[in-house]
């Protein structure tokens, strides 16, 4: 998927002469109020490897993905925007407005046809001929389709673009539709979450720029590096789940001891995301660590799976046996003595092994 072609090469490919190319550079320099020597520098930059152009569109959404993106601690959002990519269109932060903003889309298609990344935040509504999301007087879905036609690949930011999210929850009055169901002829990388973790977002972009390829994706189109495990698998409260120690009410004794939030409705056992490993806001905390169960916001249709405070059922606890957590937790709590004994026995075995090993070394 590399985007190695320089802007100059792309223009030559489209039959633009070097003379016209240099004229373009002079006009760009003049447009910035700069002298002719500046035109030479711009020409040089465009003849060498350009930063990958990114067009970031917004459909029906709440902009939490953009807000999350600018929280990235490594790399900093400013470094991504100024040094790694060329964020040529993003209506949340761009200086231009109106037709000057929309012209950038035409320019991008002309300059970088097939060579830019389309980042989609939010989704298009299809009811009312698409007019529940109007941009420049037209349905958003038209703009999305047009840019998708010319892009190299699509990143679907967040659960709106990946799954539909809150506006697609029952009864989905606007028929809000995720990107992959509207655009079917381009690769779509899903980065779900409401919002996704900042460092997951910048991690996906920098992976693509660094290795010049997509990250490995799972069957649903999510990067395996961030979405191949359930929160439950790496949850630091997991030992309390296994021991049958649960929070029964917010701020009860169990809550103050950091017990498992499963009975408070935590969706960690069925949610694929990196919260329990990467954590949020520079690795400071994540919902479970601060006392609330996981809402399951990175999963498809998480709004319509019952109350956030009712326990998940039918989860795969051990990776082998299908059972409800209630059952497993119940078994473990009910048979605490046996559990502790078994655990102790296992520890003895393990300890003995270690001792033997240690002994051998001595």
């Amino acid at each position: 998927m590399g985007i190695q072609q320089t802007f100059y090469e792309a223009m030559r490919e489209h039959g633009i002469t070097r003379r016209s190319f240099l004229k373009f550079c002079s006009l760009t320099a003049a447009g910035l109020g700069m002298g002719p020597e500046f035109a030479g520098k711009i020409a040089h930059a465009l003849e060498t490897k350009p930063r990958t152009p990114v067009i970031w569109l917004h459909g029906l959404e709440c902009t939490c993905c953009t807000e999350s993106f600018i929280r990235s601690a490594h790399p900093l959002a400013a470094d991504v925007i100024l040094s790694m990519i060329s964020l040529d269109y993003d209506d949340t932060i761009m200086a231009a407005a109106g037709y000057q903003a929309e012209e950038i889309l035409d320019q991008t298609i002309a300059k970088y046809d097939g060579n830019f990344i389309l980042a989609c935040e939010g989704n298009p509504p299809l009811n009312e001929d698409g007019m529940y999301c109007i941009q420049a007087g037209k349905p958003y879905v038209e703009k999305l389709r047009r840019m998708a036609d010319h892009c190299k690949a699509i990143i679907a930011w967040g659960s709106c673009a990946s799954w539909g999210c809150v506006q697609a929850a029952h009864p989905n009055p606007t028929r809000a539709t995720p990107i992959h169901k509207v655009i079917t002829d381009k690769p779509v990388i899903k980065v779900p979450g409401c919002p996704p973790i900042a460092e997951v977002m910048t991690g996906v972009i920098t992976y693509m720029l660094t290795f010049d390829r997509f990250p490995e994706l799972d069957r649903q189109g999510r990067p395996k590096m961030f979405y191949s495990q359930r929160l439950h698998d790496k949850c630091y409260r997991r030992p309390h789940f296994d021991a049958g120690q649960f929070v029964e009410r917010f701020d009860d004794e169990g809550a103050r001891k950091g017990y498992c939030l499963y009975k408070m409705g935590c969706k960690g056992p069925t949610t694929h995301n990196a919260c329990s490993t990467v954590e949020w806001n520079g690795g400071l905390s994540w919902p479970v660590k601060s006392g609330h169960g996981c809402l399951g916001c990175a999963e498809d249709n998480f709004w319509d799976r019952g109350s956030f405070y009712s326990s998940v059922t039918n989860l795969n606890v051990t990776g082998q046996v299908e059972a409800t957590a209630d059952k497993v937790g119940g078994i473990l709590a009910g048979a605490a003595a046996i559990g502790v004994a078994a655990h102790a026995a296992a520890s003895v075995v393990s300890h003995t092994k270690d001792s033997n090993k240690g002994g051998a070394q001595q």
Binding site: G33, M34, I42, A43, A45, P53, H58, C62, T63, C64, E67, I70, S72, L76, I81, L82, S86, L87, D88, D90, D91, I93, M94, A95, A96, A97, G98, Q100, A101, Q107, E128, Y132, I134, G137, K138, V166, Q167, H170, P173, T174, R249, F250, D251, A255, R256, G258, C275, W280, N281, G282, L284, S285, P287, K289, S290, H292, L295, C297, S307, Y309
Partner: protein
């Protein structure tokens, strides 16, 4: 007839050239502005259109009221958390739940942190480019920039070498020919008034603020688990204190909160406020954009000092309504009174049985109805020009006692000023004195921008006050964070209703809820941008955006910088403003909750 006068006293003239700006960028969501300019490029008519609808209240019907905060939080990810807090307050009101003192402190801290971060990001990343010419910064003398900076603040990053480095980075960026988000803008326009050195200083702080804002929101991460979209709970807060244990918030995290508060105060007072004053001093003659600000202002009041006391006397930022610019009287606002807050849809893409009537949110009905007026140009899916005499926006028209109102930081400040709040008066009078401006100067675009900056500083300092109170409460032995007495639906009345309100960064926000048989029967949100971006009402009163644009001269009608300035000064949030509730004819018996 092309010239008319609205009932709320604004002259409209549609005879001149029509200018359409769509999209308005650097906002949340999708907004369209159309204006008519006269031969001198002065705006004589303005039309504000919300371009999106998501239908969240329809989606909420039939759900568990304890889940509503999570749904409504997704109304907006920029002012994240404000809808969630409004929602839990509405449910607590409906169910008669009293929250613990610590939960109130934590909520106040989170909301103050939200104001601090949101205002900072708004000023530098959404608004500054209306005043700051990025490309001009390349011409600045780094030494002179350093002298300018050191003359107004003791912030350490102010050396000539620092500004030389920032300028070199900017130069490399511009020389790359790939201007990214700064492409195709209005650089070099005569509307920009700052000298290159002030531009370079502001560009440097654009980058510093983008870095620093990440720190402020960590207060949400600690108490709510993450940001954007931290977690909340009906009855209190989901986090627990574990001062001598390992399972909750302990001294280490409390120290981090305290440190963030100190650093926020320092950044706001040493970077944001000096920049605001410096930039304002070059635009003092740009006095446009007042609109409704000098007439009708609304604030619900925020930050209950003592938990569960909703009287304005208990609010750290007391609210009320100003009518007709009369600062000698602050009217009390009652969100339960069916005669006070009402929404109209005569010019909105919804339908009512009787569109001349307004409906109180508890009784509201809304059904989407997208249609263009007879004088619109273009087609239904390719709109060239809207017809403001017909329906023209996905935003409803809320009114307080029939008046179009402005909400937001300026409204809060004017109301608090009129109430004689000493801290607010000192801040406002101090700024006006420094700039050599009289009090009426605040009824303007610049006044709105200035009030937001002052409030950012106020909020940062108030975090210290609230934090200290919370620590005193913990020291006194109270560590409770949640009241779960009415957590189980079996404890709830069969039918009840409630209202919750918050002063969000963008202004007065209210949620109205009906609960029936433990499920949401009806839900309605009236949000700040609904007030400010409101279309006309059946009587023809125009809303705050439309009013504020009138009379503004544009340097070049093709370059909408002046429109952006004034619209951005309100900090629009369109995902917030465009919502509906379910058509609901059923009349519930009135249940007084408090």
């Amino acid at each position: 007839m092309t010239e008319t006068t609205t009932p709320n006293g604004f002259k409209l003239d549609t005879s001149g050239q029509r200018v359409v700006v769509d999209p308005i960028c650097r906002i949340e969501g999708h907004l369209r502005i159309e204006v008519n300019v006269d031969d001198n490029n002065v705006i004589r008519n303005a039309v504000s259109t919300g371009n999106m609808w998501r239908g969240l209240e329809v989606i909420l019907k039939g759900r568990d009221p304890r889940d509503a905060w999570a749904f409504t939080e997704r109304i907006c990810g920029v002012c994240t958390g404000v809808h969630a807090l409004t929602s839990v307050r509405a449910v607590e009101d409906a169910l008669g739940i009293q929250i613990p003192a610590n939960a109130n402190h934590i909520r106040n801290l989170m909301m103050l942190a939200q104001h601090t971060q949101d205002h900072l990001v708004h000023f530098y990343h959404l608004h500054a480019l209306d005043w700051v010419d990025v490309v001009s910064a390349l011409k600045a003398d780094p030494r002179a920039t350093s002298e300018l900076m050191q003359s107004i603040t003791s912030w350490p990053k102010s050396s000539p070498g620092y500004f030389r480095d920032v300028q070199a980075r900017l130069k490399r960026f511009v020389e790359s020919g790939q201007l990214g988000p700064f492409s195709n803008a209005y650089w070099g326009s005569a509307a920009y008034k700052l000298p290159p050195e002030a531009n370079l200083m502001a560009v440097s702080h654009y980058l510093e603020a983008l870095d620093f804002q990440r720190e402020i929101v960590k207060i949400h991460t600690i108490f709510g688990g993450r940001n954007p979209h931290p977690n909340w709970v009906v009855g209190g807060m989901p986090c627990s204190f574990s001062l001598d244990g390992t399972g909750g918030i302990n001294m280490e995290w409390l120290n981090l909160v305290s440190s963030i508060i100190d650093r926020s105060i320092e950044f706001i007072d040493k970077v944001y406020i000096p920049d605001l004053k410096a930039i304002a001093s070059f635009y003092k003659e740009w006095t446009y954009g007042g609109g409704l600000a000098g007439k009708n202002l609304l604030s619900y009041g925020e930050y209950p000092d003592v938990a569960n006391d909703w009287s304005q006397e208990n609010m750290l930022m007391p609210g009320g309504a100003i009518i007709g610019g009369d600062l000698s009287k602050v009217h009390e606002v009652d969100l339960r009174d069916p005669e006070q807050v009402q929404e109209f849809v005569a010019h909105s893409w919804y339908t009512y049985p009787d569109e001349n009537q307004g409906l109180h949110p508890w009784d509201g009905i809304t059904e989407p109805h997208f249609e263009l007026g007879p004088n619109a140009k273009g087609t239904k899916t390719n709109i060239e020009q809207l017809d403001e005499n017909a329906k023209y926006s996905f935003i409803k028209a809320p009114r307080w006692r029939g008046h179009a109102m402005e909400v937001g930081p300026l409204a809060r400040y004017v109301v608090a000023y009129a109430r004689g709040e000493e801290e607010i008066k000192d801040q406002v009078d101090g700024l006006l004195h420094d700039l050599g401006l009289p009090l009426p100067a605040i009824f303007s675009t610049l006044g709105r921008t200035a009030a937001r900056g002052l409030e950012c500083s106020w909020a940062a300092h108030k975090m210290r006050y609230v934090f200290d109170n919370m620590m005193a409460n913990l020291k006194a032995g109270d560590t409770a964070t949640a009241n779960m007495d009415k957590w189980e639906p079996e404890t709830w009345p069969k039918v009840t209703k409630g209202v919750g309100h918050v002063e969000a960064p963008r202004g007065a926000l209210g949620h109205w809820i009906h609960i029936k048989d433990t499920k949401i029967e009806n839900y309605q949100a009236v949000v700040p941008t609904t007030w400010n971006a409101s279309p006309r009402d059946p009587k023809g009163n125009i809303g705050a955006y439309e009013a504020a644009l009138l009379g503004t001269p544009m340097v070049d009608a093709e370059q909408p910088l002046e429109i952006l300035r004034t619209i951005h000064s309100f900090d629009p949030c369109l995902a917030c403003s465009t919502h509906v509730m379910t058509p609901d004819g059923e009349e519930l018996t009135t249940v007084k909750v408090r």
